[in-house]
Amino acid sequence: MQPVVYKEWMQRNLNTIIPIAGLIVLILSLRTANPYFLASWDSVITLVYGMSFFLVAACGLTLVILMGSFDFSIPSVLKLSAMIFAVLYPSLGFYSLPVTLAVALAFGFVNGLLLARFNIPSFMATLATSMVAEGLAQVISGGYTRIITDPAFRAISTTMIFGLPSIFYWAIAVWVVTVFITLATPFGRAVYAIGGNLVGARLAGINILRVRILVFMIGALFAAVSGILYASQIQGAHMQVGVLDTIPLFASVVVGGTALTGGVGGVHRTLLGVLIIRWLDSGLSMLAIDLNIRMIIFGAIAIIMAILTIDRKRIKIMK
């Protein structure tokens, strides 16, 4: 009897065990491969810079995936927001913040509306809106890199508090708020409900249209916040921002243990996924592994984790 219980426990908690075990193995192996990894406080700060803006965007994507949808437009909205902010900052100062957020929210609203009102599969709809966002970024920047040298802007992300840059606290704050929303409010329950059983959610009187639109708007809002933080961190914006983020973002969500089919996992898990992916990324780049190969590795990890996390007995028909 005992081994059966043990096995069942393993299977039920697979989504939690794999990321934690992965993280431990990762840290140990990176330490072995490179003695400088995490050896000094400076290297910790570098890692924090690498993962903070990323965590903010990943929180938004996790919400969308929990609902059973997908959002391709998050990296593009991230880029667009960074670009709008960088372009407007010299003339508007911090008043460019509401403009940027409004544009991002508009994108989220359109994404949600296309899915919930026009019944278009979200990956298709967001692929289209991501093209629009890319196009807009191209149009407003003319394709040029924009640099902001204002120290006040840079201070948003780089002020040191208790030895860590402020961007870390921004990211953690966003993460905590999102975790709270998903786990302790009816809205969070509704997100899980839509991901778990769409018909049931409708019958239970959940306003599917509203929840879907709100979730996509939150996703876009977080993408914008992430974009602005990143712009502050790198002192400007360029057309390559966010381009290579799609796969790592997606990988960090599924590596955390959120199933692609929705309803399983959570934002609290995404922190683990982000840690793993960003540490892996920095570890691999320390080992001088080509960027393209790194992307391939992330893609493979994402697919393997996606296969492991989807609870197949729940879904009769997989499209």
Partner: protein
């Protein structure tokens, strides 16, 4: 439909068939409308021989990105791996040319078939959503292509020996168009002259029902993906030649959208169960006509290209979403 029945006694059966064809394929109206509009606004530029040849060329390219995946969309799944097949297949041709000589172009369809087999088997056995699986496959192959280019230290993966393919034996018909014909013919054959097309539609419209009717659903899903991969591989030869005997080396999602947009514009709903490659051909023509005409219009800034593509696709998916009414969409 009812009006057709009423007019039946007065009109000959042929006319009814033509009327029905037009009625069930709004794409035909759209094409005629676009041609009329652009001929009216910019007649001398739109109707020039060189422009018509250019339309035929880009039609071949767009159709080749759309015809294969249509078979998977019939299933209600989606295949985004066509971009990966096209990009990395070209890299393989370039890599294998020193060993295989001219025969290395045949790597394209074989590679496509293998990728399709892989997609199908993983999708069916591991049961993960097809769009994310095939997207990852495309991403992996796209980055691999860039990697091959970087490692080899060359700028483009060009194979000059295939220069003869670029010369068309028939005037006014560009060679990419001629090279796309085998894939088109094969697609139409598979759709209308074998049971595969019917089975794929059956699975797409009601998977449980198809299973109960005795269709081996898993097998035909794999077959669908394999057809998609093979046709994309075959068609990629045309794109390869169109681009000057080379392949793309940098990943651009807008190309991904090009194929999807053609399918959707042609009237194959993403929920599956109806439509087919013939509609995707019409859709490809619509897509090409819109873009061709749009850039002939005065005052269109090529810098805004991406914006237009996005807006166009957005419009296309909204129009095509009519067919998805009532389906449960995530």
């Amino acid at each position: 439909m009812k009006r057709v029945e009423k007019t039946m006694p007065r009109v000959s059966p042929n006319m009814v068939a033509v009327w029905r064809l037009f009625k069930t394929n709004p794409a035909i109206w759209t094409i005629l409308g676009l041609v009329v509009i652009f001929s009216a606004i910019v007649p001398e530029r739109f109707l020039s021989t060189s422009n018509l040849v250019a339309i035929l060329r880009s039609f071949a390219v767009t159709a080749m990105l759309a015809v294969g995946p249509t078979f998977v969309i019939l299933l209600g799944s989606i295949d985004l791996s066509f971009m990966g097949i096209w990009m990395f297949g070209g890299a393989l041709v370039w890599l294998l040319y020193p060993y295989l000589g001219l025969a290395s172009i045949l790597v394209y369809p074989i590679f496509g078939l293998l990728v399709g087999l892989f997609n199908g088997v993983v999708h069916v056995k591991a049961r993960i959503p097809s769009f994310i699986l095939t997207l990852a496959v495309t991403a992996v192959f796209a980055f691999l292509t860039t990697y091959v280019r970087n490692v080899s230290g060359v700028l483009t993966l060009i194979v000059p020996a295939y220069g003869f393919l670029r010369e068309s034996p028939i005037p006014y018909l560009p060679s990419p168009f001629l090279l796309s014909l085998p894939a088109i013919a094969l697609a139409l054959f598979l759709m209308f002259f074998t049971k595969i097309g019917t089975y794929l539609c059956a699975i797409g419209s009601n998977e449980e029902g198809a299973k109960l009717a005795g269709i081996n659903v898993e097998k035909y899903k794999v077959v669908g993906f394999m057809i998609s991969g093979f046709l994309t591989g075959l068609g990629s030869i045309a794109i390869f030649v169109h681009l000057g005997n080379q392949t793309r080396v940098d990943f651009d999602p807008s190309e991904l959208i090009r194929g999807l947009a053609a399918i959707v514009l042609g009237g194959t709903p993403l929920a599956g169960g109806m439509g087919g490659p013939h509609r995707s051909l019409l859709g490809a023509l619509i897509y090409v006509l819109i873009f061709n005409g749009l850039f002939l219009l005065p005052g269109v800034d090529p810098n805004h290209l991406k914006l237009y593509i996005g807006a166009l696709l957005l419009g296309a998916v909204v129009i095509a979403s009519k067919a998805l009414k009532g389906a449960l969409i995530t």
